[in-house]
């Protein structure tokens, strides 16, 4: 192990050293401060005699007398089955007063790209118990499906509900949740952990916490530590891992901080030009592998600055993930929980996981029909605001009511209500049955007979 006391400058999260000898790119570094404390870091740039190190814990208190030790290796974390049920810091140290992890393996936190040829196509439906997701934008094992939200909206509540309720139908395989906090408040973190403890989810879960008061640069490693752990369980213990990461916006801010400290040419709105690639190195770690039983499913959460979906953080995420669940301020204001706006939401893998033998034969049709009818109802809301409700035809009025009905009865549910997919689809049919039957163009007559007829009291035709 090489050791130097040659720091020449410290700027932001970076330290610069000189007179170093052949330090490896990406090496893991320990910095011993004069006050006896230790910080950790990683080499970002190395040349003949000069090295740049990013310090995870921030550079506060580092001076030129600090000793810098180069490990000769990349950052590896210890992983073990016993990590289940534990709470760790953003650098992977136990926070719950429990013992250190006795490693079964030490793994590079950056992982390796899955060979695309060895990926197995995701197709298993995960029931979250949330109708707006299960019915309209289903989550599939091995998918990366983020929640795009805004500050102050109940995305954490929704994430917890998903974590508590997620199951795979007719399946007894082991399943675990990894929860990753990046820069969230202590209060939010407590909310998560106490809920996990209360519901027993923690027994089958692992928590990694980087709080708002923790060093920001650590946010760059915590999702990688968590995903390395997830891969270990998925591909060594055949487990199905659901990784919830909140808040990716704070992750990206940390990335921007490093970029500006390095005086890089910034990309859009000051974020680094390589942010797409960097985010991909996290999100692409979701998936299934041919010949292995386990899987890694990701539900990253991000708050859109200014509720703007074209902001680089949601924008680049959307370009990488397989759809998005949009949490809407309008619905929240109306008192709808969960305030999921299904129209701009999308699950790109949904069609692979639903239908006969997976969920139910009518799933696709009923979801298409709900989507179309809700879109029509919402359009009519716009028209009503101009020309008034009176001028609408009878059928249009029914669509207008449908939109409300859909929001109040299908989308809205209690935060502890775990709806089975059958119930979700039945609610869908029930509210569709209030519409004129000849306007239901996306569902076949057979399906109407089989699933909708029983909700209809009287024949319901347009005028």
């Amino acid at each position: 192990m090489k050791e130097y006391k040659t720091i020449t400058s410290v700027t932001g999260p970076l330290i610069f050293l000189e007179n170093t000898e052949n330090i490896g790119y990406g090496e893991y570094v320990k910095i011993n401060l004069s006050d006896g404390s230790v910080k950790r870091g990683q080499v970002l740039d190395t040349s003949g005699s000069r090295v740049v190190v990013q310090v995870f814990e921030g550079t506060r208190n580092i001076d030129k007398n600090a000793y810098v030790k180069f490990s000769g290796d990349v950052l590896k974390i210890p992983v073990a089955y016993d990590m289940l049920g534990r709470v760790f810091s953003g650098s992977g140290d136990p926070l719950d007063g429990g013992p250190k992890v006795i490693p079964e393996a030490r793994l590079d936190i950056n992982g390796l790209p899955i060979n695309p040829y060895k990926r197995a196509p995701p197709h298993e439906f995960i029931q979250t118990g949330v109708s707006a997701i299960d019915g309209m934008n289903s989550l599939i094992r091995g998918q990366k499906l983020p929640i795009f939200s805004g500050s102050g909206l109940p995305h954490n509540q929704l994430a917890l509900q998903i974590a508590r309720q997620a199951t795979v139908l007719d399946c007894t395989e082991s399943f675990a949740v990894i929860f990753v906090a990046m820069g969230i408040t202590e209060e939010e973190a407590k909310y998560f952990i106490s809920d996990f403890e209360k519901t027993g989810a923690l027994e089958r879960g692992i928590v990694f916490l980087n709080l708002a008061s923790d060093p920001s640069i650590e946010r760059l490693i915590v999702p990688r530590i968590a995903l390395t752990t997830a891969e270990f369980f998925a591909f060594n213990y055949d487990m199905h891992m659901l990784v919830i990461m909140t808040d990716m916006t704070n992750y990206c801010e940390a990335l921007r901080e490093i970029g500006s400290a390095r005086e890089e040419v910034p990309g859009r709105r000051g974020y680094p030009g390589y942010m797409y690639t960097d985010l991909a190195s996290i999100y692409e770690r979701a998936g299934r592998i041919e010949g292995k039983n386990g899987s890694v499913t990701q539900v990253p959460i991000l708050t859109m600055p200014g509720d703007d979906i074209t902001h680089p953080i949601p924008d680049l995420s959307g370009y990488i993930t397989e759809g998005q669940i949009i949490v809407s301020r309008d619905l929240e204001r109306k008192g709808v929980y969960p305030p999921i706006d299904v129209l701009p939401s999308l699950s790109r893998l949904m069609s692979k996981g639903i239908g006969k033998d997976r969920t139910r034969e009518d799933h696709k049709s009923v979801s298409d029909q709900l989507y179309a009818a809700y879109a029509e109802g919402k359009d009519l809301r716009g028209i009503v605001s101009i020309v008034g409700k009176e001028s609408l035809s009878k059928s249009d009025k029914l669509f207008l009511d449908f939109a409300d009905n859909f929001e109040r009865n299908f989308v809205a549910q209690k935060s502890n209500e775990n709806r089975g997919i059958q119930t979700t689809l039945d609610i869908g049919w029930e509210i569709l049955s209030k519409l004129p039957e000849d306007k239901l163009l996306r569902v076949s007559d057979e399906l109407i007979e089989k699933y909708m007829r029983r909700f209809m009291n009287a024949p319901n035709k347009t005028d």
Binding site: N22, G48, L112, N115, Y117, Y276, T310, L346, A372
Partner: protein, 591 residues
Amino acid sequence: MLLELTCGVINLENKGTIYRISGPVVTATNIDAKMNELVRVGKEGLFGEVIEIDYDKTIIQVYEDTSLLKPGDEVTTTGMPLSVDLGPGLLGSIYDGVQRPLPKLSVLMGEFIKRGAEAPGIDREKKWKFFPLKKKGDIVNYGEAIGYVDENEHTKHFIMSPPNITGTIIEILEEGDYTVEEVLCKLDNGAVIKMYQRWPVKVPRPFKDKMMPNVPLVTGKRIIDVLFPLAKGGTAAIPGPFGSGKTVTQQQLAKWSDTKVVVYIGCGERGNEMIDVLTEFPKLVDPVTGGPLMNRTVLIANTSNMPVAAREASIYTGITIAEYYRDMGYDVALMADSTSRWAEAMREISSRLEEMPGEEGYPAYLSSRLSSFYERAGIVVTLGGKIGSVTVIGAVSPPGGDFSEPVVQNTLRITKTFWALDSNLSQKRHFPSINWLESYSLYYDSLKEWFESKISVDWDRTRAEAMEILQKEAELQEIVQLVGADALPPDQQFLLEISRMIREIFLQQDSYHEVDEFHSLKRQFSLLNAIIRFSRLGNNAIENGVEIDKIIKLESKAEISKVRYRKDFESKIGSINETMSKEFKALLGEE
């Protein structure tokens, strides 16, 4: 050119040392390398390419992860630029960005891609049955075929002399099974021809002559073939925000285009999408030959989490393979998803080089790189005297869906077909979500004649009428927003009905319906023609005082909306046209 590259006086095995490592960019000193030369870096011999020479410093982009490379590690030249293997066995393959076969990599290193593995692009051991087309004493011109192998049931793979080799045959092997390494043919000047050749990816393969594209690439997609057609040998851009349908459209074109070969490049996109293609295509049927679709497909998969420098290379690897099949006299379509990720790879490397950034941090050469890529498309007379084409279709992923950004803008300057994807449409589940007001095809004028002579003399007139209706609709919509549709005069209300038919019946097309997903040009025309006929007859009826409600309720209108899903489309459309005539006669008779 190639001779210079392969026979120049460069010192093979020239060694130097690493001076600096910054991400994928490595600086070496004390090495005598050429621009764009391939070098091996570090103990594991990672592949890299020389991208800049600055006094005593040689700057290299490395195609693999550079973690733990150290200053002082060795760098060795190879004497060759980055090249690909061209020969039988390309079809049906899946490669990374530098043509390493992914199945082979998984055998060598398991489910994850580690670094340092070497795997040739085409199998050196496999034997192929060679059929000679030339004999001793014959002259072989540059790029001329000396024989062929059946690469698969439906594809004759011509074994061509490399573009820089010509001479008189002094020896040629007879029909038989050979590996790609065996010398098939010796020429009087000492040159030899094998079943495969190598070609530097950044050098376009030469041809005799470029021709004007005037035959359409038939895609089976109505909005494309009728409104915004692409020519064989042409270029198209599909820009759109995330989730608007770029990948689905490209995959659909890969399935349905009437070409001999498809090269599909997943450039910095999702791993799951590549495996989708890989699991689906072998089960699907090639619309041209009836064989498995995978048999005409070459996949390049350099996903977003794979090394950035190899992503930069993937586009060149793909286009070179496409040109190679073109040189056999085939039509090739190349899809690049997404060229924005390619541009970003350039930007990342450029910023590591601390080059002066241009617009939005992209290097100043963004525009010239994009144009030299699209310039490699074309319909040509090959060196061997055949006619072949490469059609290039590039997806563009603009930040925030904003088409004014540099990659879209620079692409539009070069490409001649523009399919603008619109998230308003995709959110309404109107697919393909190609915006009919913004999109265009500059090929249409040179293709018009083809459509009129092969499909219908009324092609242009019908299309123009449809376009006009769509234009007018857009204008009327503004008024409707203010006063409501009821306030419009009957003929304008009727126009709105017709434009709605055009949009919902003709422009929308279900990619998951076995009949609707592909319509022949004849079907496409009859469908549009039926709608336009309904429009004409309807307008006439309105002029004669018929109420619009009566026209809208006609049976023939309802039938037009369903006919596109029917297997017996042809006979059905005939009867619809008859019904239509009768119904309108009856309406007018009533008055």
